[in-house]
Subunit: 349 residues, 2 copies
DNA sequence: TAGTAAAATGTAATCGATTGCACTAAAGTA
DNA sequence: TACTTTAGTGCAATCGATTACATTTTACTA
């Protein structure tokens, strides 16, 4: 239990026969200390292997140098990557990252936020759960004066900054790409439209159709969850339609994969009969024998930028509640699942 | 800035005209408080929405209810899943999980541990980085009286508990399975043998050969990293050998996938010409058109058990430095990449 | 050399909760 | 009634660092 042996400024002050206040000032580079004492203190501090007690500091200052990250699941590639980005940006400047998962459940979300606030974190990064509707627990964070930053999945709450990708553009890019491949009856597998991200992707899909003068057919639009089975079921339903589809744009890579597996099972040729594009650029999309076209959300970058927004925000904290909305550009990764052999050249990455 | 409005025991004591000490005792269910005062305090605390200041408590007690997790990369599926397990087990009992990544670099590992100790975490969970040789930074954790628990990748340090899987058995299971499929010239793609996990898998491989009276051929054993290219290069080299191999057991799913892609490129039939088994049961292994046989490491369970070991350890902390070594059983998941059509029945899952 | 400004250091309160010790008041005993 | 227990509270120190304010020391000016 060397815990008890921890060296404090009092140990230094005793050894040098000066007051603890002076030691503190010396260690904090105050200009109100003579060069001689300064050197002496620093030397002794090093000798005794002094380490500032962050707890005492936190109690005094109210700041802990800890930030919280609240996500639905931490072992989903996307969220884990965002967290990595946050961690890489904040660790070098002395912050620690505390992670919490909500399991897509508002109750957990509320509880996690409550305990985070009670732990006096200096900021919260969060991607709301699917079941989140009411935002009063989010407002309570702001009431506490704790900066909150949404990433990817956000809610519209005044005073809250956010870092997202342009999901509308993502939806547009993917759909437009499919159209460029010659597809005309493009189905869309949407996610829970309660979440802005899925709504925007859907709207991007619609816009791409509109721009290309392709009529919208509501029968081609199905809501799925991010499970393979869900995508498979949708594909089955779609292929049963009298007028055959020739492409699928899925808001989820998992649903896209499920759809592909189901289509193959039904002897449907991919990409020539049906082209498929997913969303998220999950690692597996590029590993498949038939790699899947997808939209990359640059999650690590998203985390890094969210961290930067946080750092800016606490720097100019003087009640300047300027909310910042950063929107990243999604990247289309064209792969075999949508590269039609009839098309000579595919657009560049 | 409602931060300042935080209700303290002094607010309660003032309101009730009693001392803060009594309030504290009442809130902590001390038996030295009258029922009347107790009720009064609890009622007032609820009214004022009192929340215990964890920082003050931490300063006083030296315990923070935070634990640290140190892993090479947090967005690798395996580590993210272990963290999830730890989080799910510890959050309900009031702990917070702080995560750090080392990028497989000892320097970072040392630095992260140093700052974690300085933050007064109550315990550390860790998977050592590949470059870790010296263990003095680990001993310094013990010197500080902070419980340390290794998971998956461990070093032999007296007093440190660990939760791992039986990698030897994993290596044996996979290799034995390949042999059962009729394979006789089985190559092994090993990882960095500096890490115990890869060494054990290798030894399991050797043992399976020995038990089945298959001679070891050193030409069939190659060291790779966990990259696709590395596996592909190894496959190329192996297939160039005069006496053809008929199976590959890879310590890494990524290398296995790379090998499979390379073999296909060379028109080698899988699994009938060459059967392949990987290790880790990465999500993608089951998503492939040709799903890959692999060994599951039950990472979430591993995290949960590590958390339980930690909780036990701090409960009976009275210097009873009993180290606990939990070894989990790996699970072989047989998939198409190793199911030979010549074999009638495959062993059950 | 006295007088004053400037520099260096010390004192003590503060951040909230806990806890050993001391004290009061109520209850029990003879 | 006098005396001992004991239940119930309060006081004040403690955890370690910071900082406004007070005080001392040094340097400088006339």
């Amino acid at each position: 239990m060397r815990q008890k042996d921890k060296v404090t400024i009092y140990d230094i002050s005793k050894k040098l026969n000066i007051s603890a206040a002076t030691v503190s000032r010396a260690l904090n580079n105050s200009d109100r200390v003579s060069q001689k004492t300064l050197d002496l203190v620093l030397k002794t501090a090093k000798e005794l292997n002094y380490q500032q007690n962050t707890l005492a500091l936190a109690l005094k200052s109210g700041r802990t140098n800890n930030v919280g990250v609240v996500v639905p699941y931490i072992n989903h590639n996307f969220f884990a990557s965002v967290i990595r980005g946050i961690e890489e940006e904040l660790t070098p400047v002395g912050y620690h990252v505390i992670i919490c998962q909500t399991h897509e459940n508002v109750e957990n979300e509320i509880r996690q936020i409550q305990t985070l606030l009670n732990t006096h974190i200096d900021g919260i990064f969060m991607s709301v759960s699917k079941s989140t509707q009411d935002t009063s627990h989010i407002k309570s964070v702001l009431d506490d004066g704790v900066p909150l930053i949404f990433f990817d999945r956000k809610k519209d709450v005044p005073g809250v900054s956010s870092v997202t990708i342009n999901d509308f553009q993502g939806g547009f890019l993917a759909t437009d790409h499919l159209i460029k491949q010659g597809c005309k009856r493009i189905a869309h597998l949407s996610g829970d439209l309660n979440l802005e991200i899925y709504l925007k992707r859907y709207e991007g899909y619609l816009e791409a159709l509109r721009v290309n003068n392709i009529p919208v057919d509501d029968n081609l639009i199905l809501e799925v969850n991010s499970k393979l089975e869900s995508g498979a079921a949708a594909a089955k339903k779609l292929w049963a339609l009298p007028k055959k589809i020739d492409a699928i744009f899925s808001s989820s890579d998992y649903a896209a994969l499920g759809a592909i597996q189901q289509l193959k099972l039904m002897q449907v040729g991919i990409p020539d009969e049906v082209s498929v594009a997913g969303f998220s650029n999950e690692p597996f999309t590029q590993y498949m024998e038939l790699p899947i076209t997808s939209i990359d959300q640059t999650p690590v970058l998203m985390g890094k930028i969210a961290a930067q927004v946080f750092l800016e925000q606490i720097k100019e904290k003087r009640e300047m509640t300027v909310e910042k909305k950063v929107v990243l550009t999604p990247e289309l990764h064209v792969r075999d699942s949508s590269k039609r052999s009839t098309v000579k050249s595919n657009q560049p990455l």
